[in-house]
Symmetry: D2
Subunit: 377 residues, 4 copies
């Protein structure tokens, strides 16, 4: 007896570390979706796809545009390198596909804006940026508590993203196009700040940016400095109406991946992952008690990624709003770039209530394109 | 492009709380398996199946024997009430199907033995009893540590199964056929004891039963007494060659499901779930710090059930041994029934090295069938 | 200006590991007490006392009877080897001194009884057995919660005492006079059981003993067997009116001292030390997260010992009842000896409601003296 | 027999919340010290002293200068209101007394400098500012680990001081003279930063200040704004040579006192109090698992205060350096005042390697006295 279920035909673009995961999730763990096509320009990724995806009936493309023409294709999950996220998103939208794009849309705000313009020009299409933590059960529970008023007004948010140090990873080279540590790592924390603090703004909209300050050090990788980057960064973002977020990111956390978040309200605090662990096992050995923590973001967020795929699919099939607003995702990139700018300029950067930068004494005005973007958002 | 993957055609028998989960897992989360048929005699379960399974191409049967004749069916997952587990398993085996049966095979040892006889008569079929904890990542990590010698020789095992008290559950009535608290709840703990302690027996085989003692109280449900049952039970099982397991089970754990296990070796201890939590969220509120724990076994073991389905499927398709030995599963039932007998008789029950009961002063010898079963195992 | 505070003149008998601690506490951390004398027959201990106590004005005696004659002495803290606890207690009582005696009074019940007789004959004297855990802040908080009804009726108590394995300790030799692991280690757990479960007995008195079962293994020290002892013991004690305590003791806990207790009531559970740690520090290193635990009972209970000294002193000076009832302390020893007997005889031992042993099939009646003691208590 | 121990004759000035504690510690828990005198101008405090101190032979003074003339007095512990710390310290030093002064010496840097000048003019006297956390066992263990190189080079320090919100405390009025939240609360965190980061500076000296940024909000007490203060503050302090400390302070932590510190090095992290708790008790109740945390700094640091008294006494009697360097304590105040200034001015404040402020665009140079102090330190 054949299935009569309506399933979303989706393709995954890019089959690197995270793309392969997305492909696997849409293929095997998202019942209402059907992975029908994938794209990769990389021979090794294609070899992997031939072995792991093709036997399940997935068509492999080495040309992104051709993939978009796959018969019946309805949606694309974009998981290529960041530099082509925006272009691929726009192409997909223009060819009438729903889009789930890995974060960030781009490290270039004007490109982000173009994706937003495309999405607005195609309001029947769902376009979402994949911030996986929003689908993690612990963060979801924290958000429900926040909405329920358990902590009063959310006022301060502290959040960190700390990766295990891996000397074999060429993150110095990677720093050239990652956008820097605040865009690459803290983008998740910024997104969480926008999400949680919105619950406490006067109009429940995005909190309004007021000042940005960032500092950092190159503790293990001095060569990062030539790209204006660091391996440990700390940033403070003030919002209007009395809210503050502050962030820490590190590429040298010894035991593994340790991100954590505190949402501090006027009558309580929610703490996510203050006591990190990779499971429920502890070893009581001669030199003390030990536990492991996740080694990377994927071990930490595996189930969140599956839930993300599911909720995006549901939003498309049931024509519901996607769970993450695109403007918010672009604002997260914007704040990340301003933090990175503050790191490099060693300046505190201020904004007026309309989101325009407050001109500074030395005449170094922000780029025009940028402030226009801000005014429009 | 069509899939060319070989998938296992499996049916699920019984669509109650746990059966519906199994159906869902084989349908949506076990890529190499295909749920093709289900059986239930229950109108509400059939209504559920029509809504949730039939649209995916699953055939619904109201007659178990007919389901076994489903074209191409290769395996059956049995999740009906315990009283028909054995009969359905034997029928499935005799019709050439691989069997994954929910624990326990039966609370009647002679029926367990018959399933074992059938399985032995069909050695090309995979027959496994589903003890889900063996597929939980924390228990698996503990087992790997044990095998790796991290704790020396495993010597003492403490394990508990504590369910949230639910006054609406008719567990007094349920006690009539559950086999009692040691068979119903601690069976998992007993299975864990056999698994972990085997790593420390002289021949790496099952530890040999030496004595069994159990006590209990009816703290919340005095009516349990008429079925020889309790709502809190404590048991000690001694094995030959210096190993002991001790167990606690309770039906009145206030915040939810809290099972935990300690595997104590000559040079270390592994502790699973000493610090129970349902996730990574803690709430810091005016009256202290709070966290939640899973509300039931399914919240606790959801991913383990998925892994169980996957490993069973792999074992069949790849013709590998199933991960849980059937004799071990029957031995777990046996120990559970002896614990229950010890609870009822208020006696400590002893066995010789061959597994025969040591005759007691009052002449109340164990049933003949039982000792024969033991001698054979 | 001189102090006009009335202070209790107290002596400490025995300056071994625990005696030296008591001396220090009464000398420096019990403001209302004044350590005026000490007794030790051991030259090394005397050397220590000359250096550490004598300069503070403490008189050292090498004869216990002479120490009792120290001018103005009002109380004695007895911390010698267990074998002389009872004799020294009785002598102190007879010479009109208040007594704080380290646990146990004796491993010989008839000697315990004699101390009790002496104490009853001198009702104006305070006589207390020092069970330090009762003065630990976590246990005290648990007890307050229990009394406040937070967990309903206390029904099940689980408690363990696990010492760090120290191959240099001659505990095989020590086993000859320690009374065995249930008397030596679990005595504290038994005392806690009597304390907490009393809050749930019909008359708030001591719970009435019903059955005792114990087992054990010699995992690291086979030579213990010749003294009828083990290095890992598990015992169950049933009480009348639906209460059970079960215990574990071990001499091979790898990382240090880990005792813990759960008090399980009809509507909640209190857990003391499920997440052991020696402080608030965790180390996040390349191979995971680590923490230490106390290395011995003194690290764990240091502040409890100080509190014990303080409360005993207050009870004497203010003529209040001592916080631990002497009958309860003797009952703890009694239960410990019965557990040890059950371990050795491999029998479950039963009692009627009056506390008399139920005669067993093989005619091995309990000793007469013992049952008389029980009847009287 | 009288004591022949040499004990330090010490007085306590101020018997408020913290002064009464100090008096108690020197009186009862510092064996080598003898509390001989106290000073308070407050009738309620004097009443308390008459009841609690006088009977132990302590002389009460209502005039500080008279107290300094107490026969045999050798040292003074100053625990009055902050505004007289410096003056009383200088008087004590000039009269030849050793000084343990509560933090901070003053919120006025020039007064701090005067104390330092006095101390330097009397090098035989011990002068120490009491930063109690340095005597906490968990912080001490972390410091030992840091010195032992367990975490590589200490690079980033995060530290927070969060007090329980107490609407009855007049902290708005208090804000007038507290120096502000960064001086009042985070001073401890700053001191910890100086302590731990010194272990990673090129010369093991104090880390050299580079930039200071602070922000804050008045979430619960808007009236704080009129004193340039906030109830939640966040600050970042950059040091030269690649070290950063960042701080959070709050006066609205719902469950109680929660300070915590992370010391992040190039190969590991030490975490103090990430999992706050007031003991080892957890309650498993119908609505989840609960634990309490300390209600105030004293519950958290009680034993650290005792240790501080002991180590100060030992330093004097044994003529050893005091454990906390006075320059470091003044630098902590200085950094706190700069953070507070940054909060108020909304500017990032920079320093050159010599510690002089980098002149800012608007011409608002730092006070001359201040930069001179910095140059000298």
């Amino acid at each position: 007896m054949a299935s009569c279920i309506r399933r979303l035909s989706i393709a995954v673009s890019g089959l690197g570390r995270i793309g392969a995961r997305h492909a696997n999730h849409f293929l095997h763990h998202t019942p209402r979706a059907e992975l029908t096509a994938v794209f990769s320009p990389d021979p090794r990724e294609i070899t992997w796809a031939k072995e792991n995806l093709e036997p399940w009936g997935v068509t492999i493309y080495t040309d992104y545009d051709n993939m978009l023409k796959h018969i019946g294709l309805e949606a694309v999950c974009i998981a290529t390198v960041t530099t082509v996220h925006a272009e691929q998103s726009i192409k997909a939208i223009k060819s009438g596909k729903h889009v789930l794009c890995e974060k960030p849309l781009s490290t270039d705000l004007s490109l982000c804006q173009k994706v937003l313009d495309s999405a607005r020009a195609h309001p029947h299409l769902k376009v979402m940026c994949g911030f996986s933590r929003r689908f993690d059960s612990s963060y979801l529970a924290a958000y429900q508590s926040t909405l329920a008023g358990c902590i009063g007004r959310p006022t301060i948010l502290r959040s960190q993203t700390c990766d295990k140090y891996d000397p074999s990873v060429a993150f110095v080279q990677y720093a050239q196009f990652s956008g820097g540590i605040f865009v690459d790592c803290n983008i998740h924390d910024i997104d969480l700040a926008l999400w949680f603090l919105s619950a406490g703004t006067p109009d429940k909209g995005l909190p309004k940016l007021r000042t940005v300050t960032a500092v950092g050090v190159t503790a293990l990788e001095p060569a990062l400095a030539k790209y204006g980057d660091v391996d440990n960064g700390i940033g403070i973002v003030e919002f209007y109406d009395g809210q503050i977020a502050y962030f820490y990111s590190s590429r040298m956390n010894a035991p593994g991946q340790h991100d954590m978040t505190e949402i501090i309200g006027t009558s309580g605090k929610l703490s996510v992952n203050a006591h990190p662990t990779s499971g429920l096992l502890e070893s009581h050995l001669a030199n003390g008690i030990h536990r492991d923590i996740p080694q990377n973001f994927f071990e930490r967020y595996e189930h969140a990624f599956v839930e993300e795929a599911k909720q995006f699919t549901d939003a498309v099939l049931d024509n519901k709003p996607v769970p993450i607003d695109l403007e918010s995702s672009i604002q997260a990139v914007y704040i990340g770039t301003i933090l990175q700018e503050s790191l490099r300029s060693e300046k505190k950067i201020s904004f007026d209530r309309k989101g325009n930068r407050v001109k500074e004494w030395n005449g170094s005005a922000p780029g025009i394109a940028e402030s226009q973007i801000r005014a429009e958002l």
